[in-house]
Symmetry: C2
Subunit: 166 residues, 2 copies
Amino acid sequence: MLPEGYEQFIESWGSMGVLWGINRSMARIHAFILLSDEPIDLDTVATELSISRGNASMSLKELRNWGIIKRVHLSGDRRDFYVTEPDVWNMLFKIGIERKKREFDPALGALRHLLSETDADTNREVHGRLTELQRTLAAMDRIMDKFLKNEKISKAMLEFLGSKKM
Amino acid sequence: MLPEGYEQFIESWGSMGVLWGINRSMARIHAFILLSDEPIDLDTVATELSISRGNASMSLKELRNWGIIKRVHLSGDRRDFYVTEPDVWNMLFKIGIERKKREFDPALGALRHLLSETDADTNREVHGRLTELQRTLAAMDRIMDKFLKNEKISKAMLEFLGSKKM
DNA sequence: GTTATTATTCAATAGATTCTGAATGTAATG
DNA sequence: CATTACATTCAGAATCTATTGAATAATAAC
């Protein structure tokens, strides 16, 4: 049985997962493993978080694909155990890269394509609007690319920009 | 009937909407209105995007609640027409504020609460990990707050950071 | 090789979200 | 005030996403 504060954190981490774009089960499991200083096995995950073993198995696999947790073995035990990267930044970073590629890039691509075949003179108002939008998205694109290029640097940048003094 | 490039942009804008956290219909309607230099009425939205009038009505209302589009009237016409804020930044900004409040803040709150009642000595490993996580999220929190404080400034900042020279 | 233990897969189900369209509301027109 | 034109609402339907659990696979122990 989990302590009250643990439970709360796990649940809100689950909700926030949706913000990053990973589903509730995955985020809850991630939080749970993060909160343990010992490796956790599938059965414990399923029991403590009240989810099926099947779901636990799939979610653990998915978390492993994201590189967010890893599988370890304890000598004298046949079960698989899991530990998490202690630094969560790693996870956010990977998710950021993936989502940009999947959702942002195509929209910017379509916008560029649309602009290339929209005549500036025929429809000045819309053309201007799209150009402006293209500029904004291109700026976001460049920022994201810079930021997502190097995990270490972006973390340092984050800490600098977020420092109290700034 | 919509031109090919329009269609493409509308659809990818719809997909990206999911990234910002607004649903497909809303994002498609938004794109459609954005692409028109004249005010658009409900019926046209429903017909051109092949959605029901009911859905169109609700989505338009919702977009209006977000302050992303506004209703206008043309003299001699009983229908409601809609136009969009020409600057999309506005929309992204509003959505950012809302989502931070709804999803990010509670998780950081729960983490702080958990940390406050976790004894540093009893479980040093986890405590250290949580402290580190708290630091990262706090930095993100401060950045977001600065950024979301003023729409104009943040846009200028965006353009500066995203400039090709940087 | 047989049994016991643990992990994975995936079809079926539950749950959540989005959409529809008929019913209802509102307001302008004659 | 009856009719017409348009907008909104909301219960049910459709669809999309997440979860379950039984069947199956994999592996270790004996």
